[in-house]
Symmetry: none
Subunit: 306 residues, 5 copies
Amino acid sequence: MTKRVDEILSWYESDHPGVLKNLRWMMDTGALAGTGKFVILPVDQGFEHGPARTFAKNPSGYDPHYHFELALKAGCNAYAAPLGFLEAGARTYAGQIPLILKLNNSDSLYSPKNPKPAVTGSVQDALRLGCAAIGFTIYPGSDLRDDMYQELREISEEAKACGLAVVVWSYPRGEGLSKKGETAIDVCCYAAQIAAQLGAHIIKVKPPTDFIEQDAARKVYESEGIPISTLAERTKHVIQSSFNGRRIVIFSGGEAKGADAVKEEIQGLADGGAFGSIMGRNAFQRPLPEALELLKSIQEIHRAAK
Amino acid sequence: MTKRVDEILSWYESDHPGVLKNLRWMMDTGALAGTGKFVILPVDQGFEHGPARTFAKNPSGYDPHYHFELALKAGCNAYAAPLGFLEAGARTYAGQIPLILKLNNSDSLYSPKNPKPAVTGSVQDALRLGCAAIGFTIYPGSDLRDDMYQELREISEEAKACGLAVVVWSYPRGEGLSKKGETAIDVCCYAAQIAAQLGAHIIKVKPPTDFIEQDAARKVYESEGIPISTLAERTKHVIQSSFNGRRIVIFSGGEAKGADAVKEEIQGLADGGAFGSIMGRNAFQRPLPEALELLKSIQEIHRAAK
Amino acid sequence: MTKRVDEILSWYESDHPGVLKNLRWMMDTGALAGTGKFVILPVDQGFEHGPARTFAKNPSGYDPHYHFELALKAGCNAYAAPLGFLEAGARTYAGQIPLILKLNNSDSLYSPKNPKPAVTGSVQDALRLGCAAIGFTIYPGSDLRDDMYQELREISEEAKACGLAVVVWSYPRGEGLSKKGETAIDVCCYAAQIAAQLGAHIIKVKPPTDFIEQDAARKVYESEGIPISTLAERTKHVIQSSFNGRRIVIFSGGEAKGADAVKEEIQGLADGGAFGSIMGRNAFQRPLPEALELLKSIQEIHRAAK
Amino acid sequence: MTKRVDEILSWYESDHPGVLKNLRWMMDTGALAGTGKFVILPVDQGFEHGPARTFAKNPSGYDPHYHFELALKAGCNAYAAPLGFLEAGARTYAGQIPLILKLNNSDSLYSPKNPKPAVTGSVQDALRLGCAAIGFTIYPGSDLRDDMYQELREISEEAKACGLAVVVWSYPRGEGLSKKGETAIDVCCYAAQIAAQLGAHIIKVKPPTDFIEQDAARKVYESEGIPISTLAERTKHVIQSSFNGRRIVIFSGGEAKGADAVKEEIQGLADGGAFGSIMGRNAFQRPLPEALELLKSIQEIHRAAK
Amino acid sequence: MTKRVDEILSWYESDHPGVLKNLRWMMDTGALAGTGKFVILPVDQGFEHGPARTFAKNPSGYDPHYHFELALKAGCNAYAAPLGFLEAGARTYAGQIPLILKLNNSDSLYSPKNPKPAVTGSVQDALRLGCAAIGFTIYPGSDLRDDMYQELREISEEAKACGLAVVVWSYPRGEGLSKKGETAIDVCCYAAQIAAQLGAHIIKVKPPTDFIEQDAARKVYESEGIPISTLAERTKHVIQSSFNGRRIVIFSGGEAKGADAVKEEIQGLADGGAFGSIMGRNAFQRPLPEALELLKSIQEIHRAAK
């Protein structure tokens, strides 16, 4: 019940006490308890990329219990996964770690021009499984974005009424954007803003690059001299774009890469004021001891950041 | 409780007292209290245009509390924004200023030929946040206009039953219209009429130009000699087209521009009998002292108008 | 409580007494009370054609109260309009004249190949406003006709259960028909039959021309020698096509024209057994005294018809 | 459409136009049309007292059509009865006279200490039968009064939403009162106040006697010198107790008695400002010519009252 | 399609055609087809009195198919039974004879002071079994009568909406009445009136005795000289009490007795204008040939009556 956690909770001023309870549960859990910082383990890649691409590197990950164990041992704040993975362990690990039920997911057996995840679970599922939050992905830039916003609106209204926190994966993608634009700084900030305006409690975005996608935005970045050359600067700008820091914004770890590359990226995010990381493949695709070591290092970086 | 406010309320003769209460709340708030005139602060551009284009010029605007403060200090009648922005301040400023929850919004990461905003909030949200009204945008001229009209019909029926006022942003746009036609005098009047027939309590349109879009309309403007050469004349005609002045019609401020240009436009609107202005970018993109000064001038112009 | 009114009511043998009450209310109102004949004032052109084209000729019509007054002074049987226009006067004129809430409307800012009106009100709206009936437009011939038929089916079922009468504007239009075919005698009769089969209590069609649209129909008209050369003959055939006269069929007045042309047309309709007229633009676009005079003449023509 | 009717309607300022339409229908019907006065025929005694006690005196009354005819011939403002009686004539007389569906009724085959009527119809029944209002009886003073108040609350909310007027029979009865107290002036005023506070549009009470039931009330009547010695004084006090005259209050005729006694009582009520009478047994238990004569006399008394 | 059947159907003027269809089906079935008279076989005694008391005398009756056969062979208008009995034969005899699903039943393993049957089936059951009507028992005089009236109200509204006819067993019983009073003429008439006011299409009562239960009623019977000394006179009075003959009233056969006693009673009922008999134990407790003979005699008596 530190002052920092209380401060963060104070930003969610229109939410029910039940939502605050669940946000606090996450912030009072694991190695970063009390700091207001987050390291979350997400494992939805089995659905998103297929099992072999996801679990073959470290076959322990085929077992749903493995990820509960990993998240617990690593001292993560929460563990996020689709319905099946959570159902397979929610009783054994009931109450040991906050769970986030990912309520929509895309597979990659078919890749349409304008992607949209399928809704694969319900608020009622999250309640019966004892979750702290629901997770939902939107794809700003897709022709189907409005359908996702409206699905989120409905699910989110229901979740909040039940005291569940709402975590939004805001991943720009689709016809409206170039491939490079998906992580452009202007697009990343816009995606964070959209998630915030849609009422997300926790916003998950990808680390932004220094590319600028939209001409109308470029004019402003130039005329106002917004600094975006370092990852720290860009991260700061994303946080600012999320209600000037009044919303928790965490950053995904992206594709698997070397431990040093991971730590360097995290350092940039932490320097820019990120609230933490949500790291899947770089965690569960490593052998357990390595994974634990890496996650501990990341926690240290986030803890050390002012 | 002035005679003018009572007169305006008398036009809404089929509405619940609860709706009248909320209309009165807006008309009894701020610098224009009691005059039946309006200056409303709307801040949905973070969603509509993205955060940098919207807030970089005056970075205080990244903070949701800033707009509540601005609206209060400037003596606005109400503050309108999407769900996230209102949730981020509704408790701190509860009851200090009437709030309008914008219930649908478009982002500009994808721009389809026939635009349609996503529904991003609910009447229930507006009630729990203590709002005075809901706001809804329609795009007459779009191939998807009927979907918007029907969404508005349902939301509006629910809102009115709960005593909330209904503010309709009627912005012609889409395949049926030329770019210039979006603010043509005939189209603007038609858009106001549609909003009124759909049951709007407050109608928001853009200041009309002297262009005429539709041939069938041009014939009537010429044969009947309807004067449309000055902004005052055109404004008068928009008001007339809104049930002969029996509905509150306010005008948007449009793109950011110089203070003198803003004031000149407002003078034209006021001379034509506008009920007021709803001014976003020209307010919050200026430094606070300038913004307050400009909003005060605008209020003075509206107050002075007969 | 004349025998003729009782006879007409006897045709609606499967309807609730509440529906009969509202049909009787219309037939016991105004200058034609007790005759079983109708002159109804419809004002939905503000939505359908835009305000200037509709009201500029007689600017009193911009004011919603004007049309209630016009209908009352002229002794019309009922006044029909969309939600906004009725809400703007329903309390002031409560119970003074039967109201028909037009539940769907099209604007003309966008003209798709296959038109379909938006649903702009509800049965609940009609009840709270104290209406006698709901009005609904279908466009037989449009690719979207079935959507309209199904909307009508649902709304009509709900309206009848609540004792409201159902008035159907059956206006052939869309890809399936030539422009000339929209008022062809075979098409007009077919449109009346469809409305009757869909369960309409009162059917509104346009005066039919002697053109025949469909080849399959032409063969029959010729082989059976169906007389269609005069408007009276064609009107008689429309009435016959509406359950052999067991449904009330009224005819629209169409575009504004000279008083003599109007009266001549009405005489033809009356000679053919029309139950009456529903006349908008030819009424409210004239100055009040002229409008009253014309409506009175029309009533006289209908009354005099056997 | 008299000024008096408009004045009365203006008191029901929070109701839908549909409710006003039905109140106006009653006030524009029959011999007292336009005066704002009422003579209503209620026939629920077949249910309340049994058929022989009710109809044997004038056996025509066994036939449900008889009462529709009586109400029409006598020029009553409305006819009130339970479901069965209305179903048996609603089609034949559809729209000829406003109907009030009595939604709860007590039989007298069992007389519990604390009576409560059974709910015997629904708002939907009232709509399908084309009624103008629903009627509901409450027994203030009964141990079960709160159940009745709550039933009334729910039914009344539904009825008002559908535009139906609500007529409340407020008949003190039960353990809390002496037999004499059931018509005591303090109790009668209290019963009228309760009905008004529960949202009744029209309140029906029994003519009050000069007896005072409650000690606490007696003190005030004496200290304030409230005049209650004549029926006119007492009636005036009942009207005052019903929102100072802002609700329509009508008085029951009570048990069958001589025509002179009836007229004398009506004169007292009329002198005190009663809005009218609701007279059952004194009407339908007389032979038709006598009944018509008596009802006409009563109408004359009410009309003559200022 | 005789005139008499049409006349009877005309009394049900507020009902759906579907209800009329089912009433006509009963009146067009069996030996009395076209006469407007009824002999119905009811077999709910297995539930009401237990199987041995009911079926041991003629063990064929244990078999549910037996009663379908009996009703068919005897030319009954309809067969009435609880859910189980109907489910056991409804497919085999589908469409061969109108079925009445008895929707509430009492067993006699427990006999409370204030009896109330359990609801043992639904309108949906009646629809899926192809019934013509639902049957429902009320006990006027019981402390729980209002609960039964309200159950009937709800079930009846649903049944009528689905086009099912409503048959009410109105059997006075309970604390409010002496044992002798249960069949007293005043009570029987009152019970018939209550059923009619509750909206029953067919009313079933017991043959009344010349006893008068209630003092208030006795006064009227004496002062008005209502003749009640013969069963024919009493029957006539019951019919009169059922909306002056505008509702179908049938009489139960009561306890098993000798064939002559049965026939004598039927003769009295028929002379008084009864619409028919509903006879259970006197039918199915006799051997088949005797039962058929008796039922034929009864039909002859009813047919012969004017």
